[in-house]
């Protein structure tokens, strides 16, 4: 059974339908990429899954449970963490406090301590800067903090929204390597990206969104070689 199953999802902003009935599934252990141009509805889809915006139709099932009645703040406890677009770290709080807020719903002190060590091991720079105010970190460090913060909730699935945004090519490569290694250590990843090439390179499968509809889906390497995808999203002619 799929870990995350989205069926006929519809989301509206007022009278405008942003998502017009999309269905997709994410299996345990996979990296799934949701690619598409600006305004295709990628972030909207993620926000619907994490509960930040209400859905207008369809259903979202997570771990066999319908999320319709589960408020956003409770979805974390079910094993869902989001690394939001623009990172949205708490810029006035310390790095350490940001990470601790990631573990806000957890009560197991020893487990939290252990995961904090793991996050510091994965992101040594965060350890060096644990006492620093998060707003003073560089863009790449903030992205790492946002990922570390999400990991602190010990999620079954991580929803990642445009992790490459605003970063230098070198850092983008680093971030994607980290996503891959997070996945390899057992966390399922749903990745939303405009950088289709990078996303397809690490994903198992992918869905292509266009103005609120899924127009194409399949194995990532197949999509990578699909002519229409190459033309529209990989910048080739």
């Amino acid at each position: 059974m799929a870990l995350l199953e989205v069926k006929d999802l519809e989301v509206s902003y007022g009278v405008i339908k942003a998502i017009k009935g999309i269905s997709f599934e994410v299996n345990r252990g996979e990296i799934i990429a949701l690619i598409g141009a600006n305004g295709a509805g990628k972030t909207t889809t993620l926000h619907a899954i994490s509960g930040l915006i209400p859905i207008a139709g369809g259903s979202i099932e997570f771990d066999g449970k319908d999320l319709a009645k589960v408020p956003a703040h409770e979805r974390v406890m079910h094993g869902m963490a989001q690394v939001p677009e623009g990172r949205r770290i708490f810029s006035q709080l310390s790095v350490w406090k940001n990470l601790m807020l990631g573990a806000y719903t957890r009560k197991d002190k020893d487990g939290i301590e252990k995961d904090l060590e793991e996050v510091f091991h994965r992101f040594p720079r965060l350890k060096e800067r644990r006492g620093q105010i998060a707003g003073t970190l560089s863009g790449g460090e903030q992205q790492m903090l946002a990922m570390g913060r999400a990991l602190m909730s010990k999620p079954a699935i991580m929803l990642m929204d445009e992790p490459s945004m605003g970063l230098s090519p070198l850092l983008v490569t680093e971030i994607f390597d980290i996503i891959k290694s997070i996945n390899e250590s057992g966390t399922t990843v749903l990745l939303v990206e405009q950088n289709a090439r990078k996303a397809l390179a690490i994903a198992n499968r992918a869905y292509v969104l266009e103005t609120g509809r899924i127009i194409l889906s399949g194995d990532a390497d197949k999509l990578m070689n699909d002519d229409s995808v190459r033309k529209a999203y990989l910048g080739e002619s």
């Binding site: 956003a72 949205r88 810029s91 806000y104 707003g135």
Partner: protein
């Protein structure tokens, strides 16, 4: 003389600071100006008056009863009047807050009448003499209580998990939700704390200026609001600092310039502050990073 003016200014300022904390915390977390906050002080005073004078109970019981009542009142006001307006325009919320303020004043008017009631000191602390300066017991009580409250509040915000949630919500509601923070609960808690502090402020005020009427909360409410803006609205140390500053300025202008002009001076300082540094002494400029 200067020392005693200064001390009574600090003591008045401590009361403003307690009220300002409510303004600033609610602003920081719910992003609204709760103009009914000043009237909660008045309610706190009346409750203490009722418990101690009408029912004849001990001063400390009156204090406790008043805090509990105001805390519940704050939660109720938020639930009934402001929560349905979450996501509405700021103007609607502001007007609702003014409406709640009038409602509280008029309910007090209905129950207690327009004549102001005299208070007997709820809690008596003996005055202390240091050299040639006599420090009145009220001053010691007010400053002592305020300092303890501010320390406890600072620890609560910075060390407890609920405090972290408040900090997170004040910066980014959506991201806080993604961490698992229940935003509605956090807002309720903020109103509860703010109103509890207003009750304490009300009682300390009535102990210093022993009478209470339906409009008693207005002026201190406005001055505490000035204090919050002066210190930087949304900033907790700012509210403490702003409160003390406004209290001292008010008292020293009364002593050395003019009693009639003291309020004008306080308001003028707010205007100057807004012109020179609109974010207040400790207010942070919102820096948006893309």
């Amino acid at each position: 003389m200067f020392i005693s003016y200064l001390l009574s200014g600090i003591s008045l300022g401590a009361i403003y600071a307690l009220i300002a904390l409510g303004y600033t915390m609610v602003y920081g977390i719910a992003k609204m100006l709760n103009f009914a906050h000043g009237d909660v002080i008045m309610v706190g005073g009346y409750i203490a008056f009722t418990i101690s004078v009408t029912l004849g109970a001990d001063g400390w019981i009156a204090l406790l009863g008043s805090i509990i009542f105001c805390t519940l009142l704050g939660i109720t006001i938020e639930r009934v009047a402001y929560k349905p307006l979450r996501g509405a325009s700021k103007l609607s919320v502001l007007i609702t807050a003014i409406g709640v303020s009038y409602l509280l004043q008029n309910v007090a008017l209905l129950i207690f009448g327009s004549a102001s009631r005299n208070f007997q000191a709820l809690i008596v602390v003996p005055s202390v003499e240091i050299g040639s300066v006599t420090i009145p017991g009220n001053t010691i009580l007010t400053i002592g209580v305020s300092v303890v409250i501010m320390i406890v509040l600072t620890l609560f915000i910075n060390k407890s998990s609920a405090g972290s949630a408040m900090l997170a919500v004040s910066e980014d509601k959506g991201a806080a939700q993604l961490m698992g923070v229940n935003v509605n609960k956090t807002i309720s808690l903020t109103f509860a704390i703010g109103s509890g502090l207003a009750a304490v402020a009300g009682i300390l005020m009535c102990t210093q200026y022993p009478n209470i009427g339906p409009y008693t909360g207005q002026m201190p409410g406005i001055k505490a609001f000035i204090a919050a803006v002066f210190g930087g609205i949304g900033s907790i140390p700012g509210a403490m600092l702003g409160g003390i500053a406004i209290g001292v300025i008010e008292n020293l202008s009364k002593a050395y310039i003019s009693t009639q002009l003291s309020d004008a001076i306080t308001f003028a300082i707010l205007i100057i502050m807004l012109l020179v540094k609109p974010t207040g002494i400790l207010g942070k400029k919102l820096n948006e990073k893309v």
